[in-house]
């Protein structure tokens, strides 16, 4: 059982997945952000490998990619960050990346190195299962897949059979970024996925407030993913982002408990 699977199986309450771009705004400050995330009690850490063409990300996360790239961030710094955290914490770590760094490193090599560094799961934004044979062969790392609003029931069945850890359900069409409210049909979609799947369902995209966290949990989410709201703390206070990050985690957790 990976740390991710263990986290879901031992908790009755929904989990909080906190997401940040590795190396934003610098390696050192990113480490502080991650430490703040862990100290504030997030259940799962999702680390994003900075990318030059983040086509699924909205303006906030996009700016994080840009800052991290300018600071020299990439695959090596993300792995170094994971190794450092692993010496301090057993928090489950899910790695999120676009596919190109994997292809360039060599697929098997990349997954081996990620597992060696201490990652427990990996979500490749632009590698659907059809292109992910190498990922599906991995034993030490959970392949995590996205379910979109447009993903058909047949496809949900195919994906859930191949995925492990959890399914990442995208709350609404579009890119990452905070929203005032989640769509009304979210509950229907979460239920549909749960009927078709044995995996826990994490809801992401658009959650950055107590209200939206509450809506996600109310819709039946087994976990909520918060990303852009954390990155905004770095935007607002690039020199000392940690206190803001802790506050965001606290706010989201508060919202999750409203139910």
């Amino acid at each position: 059982m990976t740390r991710i699977e263990a986290a879901f199986s031992k908790s009755d309450a929904p989990l909080l997945i906190a997401c940040t771009v590795a190396g934003d705004p610098t390696y050192e400050l990113s480490l502080e952000v991650v430490r703040a995330i862990i100290a504030a009690g997030a259940d799962i850490l999702e680390l994003i490998i900075p990318n030059t063409n983040p086509v699924a990300d909205g303006p906030v996360i996009r700016s994080a990619h840009e800052r991290a790239i300018i600071a020299g961030g990439g695959v090596e710094t993300a792995f170094a960050l994971i190794r450092t955290i692993r010496r301090e914490s057993q928090i489950p770590i899910s790695l999120m990346t676009y596919v190109n760094p994997i292809i360039v490193r060599g697929e098997e090599q990349f997954f081996r190195d990620a597992a060696d560094a201490g990652a427990d799961g990996i979500l490749v934004v632009d590698m659907p299962p059809e292109e992910g044979a190498s990922l599906l062969r991995q034993k030490r790392i959970d392949p995590i897949f996205i379910i979109a609003p447009s993903t058909s029931p047949d496809r949900i069945r195919m994906i859930e059979a191949l995925g492990r850890g959890f399914l990442y359900l995208v709350s609404a069409p579009g890119v990452t970024g905070r929203r005032t409210h989640l769509p009304d049909d979210l509950g229907v979609r979460v239920r549909r996925v749960k009927e078709l799947s044995h995996l826990p369902v994490a809801v992401g995209f658009g959650i950055g407030s107590a209200e939206t966290a509450d809506e996600a949990v109310g819709a039946g989410a087994d976990a909520v993913v918060v990303g852009s709201a954390i990155t905004e703390c770095i935007l607002v206070n690039p020199v000392n982002p940690a206190p803001g990050v802790a506050e965001v985690i606290g706010t989201i957790r508060g919202g999750m408990r409203l139910n």
Partner: protein, 387 residues
């Protein structure tokens, strides 16, 4: 070959949020290909609206000193001034028949944006074009044309604010709008099925070239030359000639020099990677970060290339050479003066490559150059007047 692959290249490396749209597109394109009425309508638009067929013109002066005949496939004479309309009319008709009401597009030089705006206007589809802020500046006349044609031009300021960033932004927009919107991609790039669709719509260039060369010159050319940014005019020229004994030569942006960041020569200098949904040859570093690029021509200023070109390179069926900014500008001026034809800076790369080839080929050889667009848009970049 696996569906959607060109040898090892191509594929559908797209976020899950776009997969249903890409599957729908694959099905609707298959229907479109079988639909005789749709094919007739496309043919009618291409002939009566866009101005096909385009002439194959044997240059009277260019390259004369080498004893080699250089023919120009005059895509610059098409409506809108470039080959782009072949693809936009095809895809816009496909989108309309699939029930879409809106088109989005990326554009570099602005030619694809203009051609999309024209297709949208004539077929009654709303158009939004994403364009790098840097490109909007260097191709300002095309921005005005798009707006006049009723399109919204949205500036993209991320990254280097050029073509690659515009593709990123179009993909992001499509992720939230695919229900009623078709992403009318402008080159043979992107996730499957785009590279094949764009190639099919551009193959009209090579098919006409084939017939015209036989009719006018009594034979096929010894070499066919086209510029390669994403590579749509080149693949449209090459594909119908693949089984013939014709050398196929692509001219890439050599820019200011072949050190990283100074060129757009993805095939000559790139390594294997995924950009914008396809496995292809990419300008990048050893961790897969995409490089900045440079070309004097906005249309060639792109760090990737259509996956089919990477395949044709690997199997040795096509050759790709680098043409520098300076060579392209020289060819731009030379063709204007010798033939009375102002080529797009993109196409001037192909003219320069043809002139280089003519030097080394036997006397009496025949070279066909696809002149993909006209150069009026480039007068701000390369000042006119006598030099």
């Amino acid at each position: 070959m696996k569906a959607g692959r060109f040898g090892p290249y191509g594929g559908r490396y797209a976020p899950e949020i776009l997969i249903a749209a890409l599957q729908d597109l694959t099905h609707s394109y298959a229907r479109f290909q079988r639909d005789a009425a749709a094919q007739d309508e496309l043919h009618s638009l291409l002939t009566r609206f866009a101005g096909r067929e385009t002439p194959l013109y044997a240059c009277r002066n260019l390259g004369k000193e080498t004893g080699v005949t250089i023919c120009l496939k005059r895509e610059d004479l098409l409506h809108g001034g470039a080959h782009k309309i072949n693809n936009t009319l095809g895809q816009a008709l496909l989108a309309k028949m699939s029930g879409k009401r809106r088109l989005i597009a990326e554009t570099g030089a602005g030619q694809h944006g203009v051609a999309t705006a024209m297709a949208g206007a004539v077929l009654g589809l709303e158009v939004e074009v994403f364009m790098g802020a840097v490109d909007m500046q260097r191709q300002a006349p095309n921005v005005s044309r798009m707006e006049l044609l009723g399109a919204t031009v949205t500036p993209v300021t991320t990254g280097s604010a050029t073509l690659s960033d515009a593709v990123d932004e179009a993909l992001r927009n499509w992720a939230g709008s695919a229900d009623d919107t078709h992403y009318l991609i402008g080159s043979c790039v992107g996730p499957d099925p785009f590279p094949g669709i764009v190639r099919d719509f551009q193959c009209v260039i090579g098919r006409e070239l084939y017939t015209q060369s036989l009719n006018q010159e009594g034979r096929l050319p010894d070499a066919a030359v086209a510029c390669v940014g994403g590579g749509s005019n080149a693949i449209g020229t090459f594909f119908p000639l693949l089984d013939q004994s014709v050398r196929l030569i692509g001219a890439e942006a050599g820019g200011r020099g072949l050190d990283p960041g100074n060129h757009g020569a993805s095939l000559s200098c790139g390594t294997a990677g995924v950009l914008h949904g396809a496995f292809t040859s990419v300008l990048q570093d050893d961790e897969g970060r995409i490089s900045e690029t440079h070309s004097i021509s906005a249309g060639l200023d792109y760090p990737g290339v259509g996956p089919e070109h990477a395949y044709l390179r690997d199997i040795g069926r096509a050759e790709y050479m680098c043409v520098s900014d300076a060579e392209a500008v020289a060819a731009f001026r030379l063709l204007s003066r010798t033939e009375g034809i102002i080529p797009a800076l993109e196409s001037a790369h192909a003219v320069a490559a043809a002139l280089r080839l003519a030097e080394e080929m036997d006397e009496g050889s025949l070279i066909a150059v696809t002149l993909s667009g006209r150069g009026d848009k480039d007068l701000a970049t390369v000042p006119g007047g006598r030099v």
